[in-house]
Symmetry: C2
């Protein structure tokens, strides 16, 4: 009867905060999607790169703050990111990982302890889950949430600012909204510059190189009704796509949807 994509309610409600969710992932109990896990706590995208590429990637993030908002960076070789949680181990605390060699996916383990190296640096990148909580609290419907699907994402014609080997187009997420909700959503997400911030585009998909709104490059398609506008935010898939293009010798990322759940609260990231 139960789909493997749906977690039993008891499991969801047992993760009352980020720490509990990380401990469950560390023990191997939490192995799937982190949507709706530990509501109110910031979740982050993970990218782990060799130290030799760290400076280039940090420059890339500095130049592309909307696509690549860094919320935490480890010391070289360290699996800790204390600003996101004192008891936090990036090698064990995510439900699932992806291992990349030369741009090729080679493994999807639930721990990367065996892959860890002393020259690795962990980058944690903010995620739109943080502002989506505020949008929903404000009564703005999010269709992908209502449909239980992944947010709709497109590769655009908007270039990122390159740094070292890192370059490529901005990836955006799209949420269809009625115009008055879109205006309110622009206000609300402007309060969260550390997690993608305000939209980068609204209303005219072809102007940013999206030929067919019904055919996203990532995630699931979603209907845009005649009384709605598509609203586009810079997306954390941008750095993942940029890293894939750069084909580093070795990299670790989270598996799609299986994020790092932190001890920081979403509300901490609102600037006003």
């Amino acid at each position: 009867m139960s789909s493997p994509l749906r977690k039993p309610l008891a499991q969801i409600s047992s993760y009352r905060n980020g720490h509990a969710a990380r401990l469950a992932a560390r023990r191997g109990e939490l192995t799937g999607n982190t949507a709706a896990v530990a509501p109110g706590y910031v979740q982050g995208n993970l990218c782990v790169l060799p130290q030799a590429l760290a400076s280039d990637f940090l420059r890339f993030a500095q130049r592309n703050p909307k696509s690549c908002p860094l919320i935490g960076v480890s010391e070289p070789g360290s699996r800790a990111v204390p600003e996101l949680g004192l008891d936090l181990d990036v090698a064990t605390d995510l439900p699932r990982y992806r291992i990349w060699r030369g741009g090729e996916l080679i493994d999807e383990p639930s721990s990367v302890e065996d892959y860890w190296r002393d020259d690795l640096v962990a980058f944690v990148i903010g995620c739109s889950f943080t502002f989506e909580e505020s949008l929903m609290t404000a009564g703005i419907p999010l269709r992908h949430v209502a449909c239980g699907s992944n947010v709709t994402m497109y590769r655009t014609s908007i270039p990122t600012e390159p740094a070292g080997p890192f370059h490529g187009p901005m990836v955006v997420s799209m949420r269809p909204m009625k115009p008055a909700d879109a205006i309110r959503a622009i206000q609300i997400t402007s309060r969260f510059p550390a997690v993608h911030g305000a939209p980068v585009h609204i209303g005219l998909p072809e102007a940013i190189g999206i030929a067919d709104i019904a055919k996203p490059d990532y995630g699931d398609p979603v209907e845009v009704r005649p009384d709605e506008l598509p609203v586009f935010w810079a997306c954390g898939v941008t750095p993942q796509s940029v890293i894939a293009t750069a084909k580093p010798d070795f990299a670790i990322t989270h598996a799609p949807g299986a994020m790092l759940v932190t001890d920081r609260r979403n509300t901490e990231y609102a600037v006003i």
Copy 2:
């Protein structure tokens, strides 16, 4: 050679602040449009009503803050609005007025001293000139400014909240913008809730009862290019239109474009 609609440059630059502009209007030297007069100083729409209607109109304003943002109200019978300027006389300090009886325009004098009555209350309503300064400072092009035309305005299907005899549709101003500029304009104008604030609509004119974007109900038409969205703000013409509908026995307003120039700075109205 010179058009009567253009003021000599010497005259514009001599009004270095709101007080200087009011004194010039009081002396009868400034009789035309106040666009570009005393840059940086808040200009206001004027509505003067008999005291018997004041309570209804105040309730209307309270219920419709985006259309009818009051920035000053006189004591009954008084021509002073000290919060907008200590040396300020609403009966003499505007370049031109309109006198209304039963909803009919009967005169367009440059002073209303002869029409003043002890039961009149003056209402000063914020104007989009205030946020337009911030938009232009942010480098957002405003086509009606570039064209030297009046801003484009439409009667919409959005109802105002009625109070007493005051009711009717919201009037909006429209500025065409590229999507990224529209997002920035929403952020900037959100900082000015006292002068119409954020837009009320974007992108889908038919959804707010605008059948033909090329045919405004007030002001001048302006091109909306294929790479632009029309962005709509609640407009100070709304209370004027609502007052005209209510057909009060007597009313005074400013003549279109000939506003009250105050001592308050535009920047004072930014909430953050």
